[in-house]
Symmetry: C2
Subunit: 463 residues, 2 copies
């Protein structure tokens, strides 16, 4: 729909920019008036300036989304973060979302950074860890700027093991830590002894076993594609994908040259955690999104990401530039004993899955997720359907059984968001606002409107 | 719907028995006229005789279906067939469907019996094997009469390993061989050297490893319940269930006291075969159906089964008696190079899954199966929806996301089949009509009408 809306003049008009609509009607072109919603505040001017470049933008968007769809993410190995992440030193701590000043950091992110410094033996108390960061003795930097992504707080420290994912088509790489399971975990800002010990077990025991188990490259796109036929949506639900991953790792696990009790413990850990695959879906999505980046003139979104304070958007035609606005509250269900007042704002790089047509964009594939986050299967269907309004294309890989195997909406067109006022829908966990607590719920969230408008202004400002 | 249709007088009428419909309308009861189809030939008389016993039958059916739903099939072990199957000697060969004379046996069943006799070293050529059976030197008997079920030809010979499934609620047991994979396999009537060697590997290598791996009981109902949220329908598609099974077996497999290359080979074999779980879904369904059996007065179907020549039906209120009619052709898609003229008629005990609300009754859960057998997702939805017309209840365990998590239709009421003329829909593979070839397609089939009418007559004849 968006291709028609925005690639060809008549349909641009139909979504609400009245002067242009009138012009089209005057020319006698067919015009279908949609349920009208005003464009985002401040978007009319840049939209108007871009309208003359529709043909050029359409070609750029076709190229960007074509590359996104052609990318073929493979899991190729496991490595120590500082050994493989570009620009990461022994004093770098990565976090989710756009760049951040420490004084602005939200509770879960603070907690995760504290935990990482204790884990790295750079501090022995939370207070000393905070002082270290405040004094600038460690560098905070976004995962996304170092070929990485992280769920929730997204903290990656130098000695953590990371999955290595490579795009077999374009060669790009992305990395992500192992998933720690639910409950008290670093990514939700918990840093108790139990959390630190689990992280050490992951690097000492799990990492070498997983490194050996990934003896052949594993096609993550194929697993996600199958999983969407099996009730996953590729962001909050990974039950099928995790089971399919284990099925692929099984023969290698069984012939590993390692203590069988360790192998069994690792297998039990990943089998008991349906979120294991989240940390593979994210770097898979990142190499796909990265492949779409840097196409001059393209209005396709290549990053959606939040640090608990700000929401950041990046767009293909403006390269590495961040456009930000305030992180929003997540609407959803809380675990017993918690309520909205306890919640952190939206946080995590995991919205990279929505960026490539998964998660909220694939909700129709996962009616079971709807009840997990407080909605109905019909709402799940409606969420996906609405996203076609702001997407440039339909996925060749993520097919939705409930939609007669139609591909999910893929490639968010920043113009379509601004024009329609329809914001991307993102599935998300909810973290406690204080450091050290953990996950307290799950739900749905929308980005703030502002980053899409400022991104559009930047696109319009380019020749 | 059937509960209303047949448990309470007004709705019995609405499906087409006109004299009764008129009576209900005369009494001023609400009457919704359904798309009218005549009752099955010869059914009006027994239906009429049963109408006065509606209350008693409703109570009996509630009890039968209640037991079916309460049954809790657990995988508890692996054993040698002749050691655990009641009434099976070293000279017994079990087959699918109702009892059969050798001279009437269809090609795939002949081929599988020949293969089993070669596998057992009871014959060294196909000709000698046939002579052995023709001379009555081995006894042919239905799986269903020996606490077993088998897909397609369903042949079980004395030394084959079988899964042991126990109903934790009622204590009943059912058994099934290991699934051999697709292509040239015994159950489709193939008996080449490759087939026999695979069977021997299954008993020599796979059976002891699987026996050790099932160190704790595995809840098959829970796996099926999850799998229906993951695109399986519990008969022709077991991709999710097989992956979930492997996830559960994984820790035990990793700590087995066996040669790791053997364990890896077994793991690779089951992981490469998405039908692995079919041979567990079937005995799981059988203990559920058996639990519903033998309730005096109940009109609930407890067996649907075919031997390639005849289709057999058993009903709760008539116990072990078989009601049979001619096996039907399967409508579906053929593999390249094959057509309807090459096909065997409907064969296999696997329709036990439909008997408990899976397979065709759960098609709406598995839109992907529709394309595999030549249909559309909408047709899959329609198939399940239509089956509510002939089912006594809705499953408490098999919930369909696409139907807003409504339970599948469960407990086929023989009266409703006769009254509505709606026959159960069964998903099935298609075997080549000649022995020794194998699977040539997959599709959908209906039973003949006659067994439901003769079953109803037998029910009506009981006081």
């Amino acid at each position: 729909m968006s291709a028609e809306l925005l690639g060809r003049p008549p349909a641009v008009v139909s979504a609400g920019v009245e002067p242009l609509a009138a012009e089209v009607e005057a020319q006698g072109a067919p015009l279908e008036r949609l349920a009208w919603r005003p464009p985002l505040d401040g978007a009319e001017e840049p939209l108007r300036r871009l309208i003359g470049r529709s043909t050029e933008i359409a070609a750029a968007n076709d190229r960007a989304v074509g590359r996104m769809q052609a990318a073929q993410p493979l899991l190729v190995g496991v490595a120590r973060a500082a050994d493989v992440l570009p620009g990461v030193t022994e004093r770098t701590i990565l976090h989710s979302g756009p760049p951040l000043e420490w004084r602005d950091a939200a509770g879960p992110l603070r907690g995760a950074v504290i935990g990482a410094l204790i884990y790295e033996d750079l501090a022995d108390t939370p207070e000393r860890a905070e002082r270290l960061v405040a004094a600038g003795r460690v560098e905070l930097s976004p995962c996304h700027e170092h070929a990485a992504v992280g769920p929730m707080a997204g903290v990656v420290s130098p000695s953590m093991p990371v999955w290595v994912v490579e795009d077999a088509a374009g060669g790009g790489r992305a990395h992500c830590t192992f998933n720690e399971g639910l409950g008290k975990v670093l990514r939700y800002g918990a840093y108790s002894q139990e959390v630190i010990e689990r992280l050490r077990w992951m690097s000492d025991v799990m990492a070498p076993i997983m490194a050996a188990a990934v003896s052949e490259a594993i096609d993550l796109r194929a697993i996600l594609s199958q999983a969407l036929q099996m009730g996953d949506e590729g962001h909050n639900r990974h039950r099928a994908a995790t089971a399919l991953l284990i099925k692929q790792l099984l023969p290698a696990l069984l012939t590993l040259d390692a203590a069988s009790t360790d192998v069994a413990e690792v297998a039990r850990f990943i089998a008991a955690n349906d979120h294991t695959f989240l940390n593979l879906a994210m770097p898979a999505a990142k190499v796909m999104a990265d492949a779409a980046g840097g196409v001059p003139g393209s209005t396709i979104v290549t990053t959606l990401s939040r640090n608990g304070t700000e929401f950041g958007v990046r767009v293909s035609g403006t390269g590495e530039a961040w456009f930000t606005g305030p992180a929003q509250p997540v609407e959803g269900l809380y675990f017993p004993g918690y309520a909205a007042r306890d919640a952190s704002l939206d946080i995590g790089d995991s919205a990279i899955t929505e960026t490539v047509g998964l998660g909220g964009f694939a909700m129709a594939a996962a009616p079971a997720i709807a009840s997990f986050i407080g909605g109905t299967p019909d709402e799940a269907l409606a969420a996906t359907t609405q996203m076609y309004d702001i997407a440039w294309a339909e996925s060749e890989h993520w097919l939705v059984p409930a939609l007669g195997f139609r591909g999910t909406p893929v490639g968010i067109d920043c113009r379509a968001v601004c024009l329609s006022g329809t914001l991307p829908v993102i599935n998300s966990g909810i973290a406690h606002r204080e450091p050290g607590v953990g996950q307290i719920g799950a739900g749905v969230v929308h980005p703030p409107a502002r980053p899409f408008v400022t991104a559009l202004e930047a696109l319009a400002a380019r020749s």
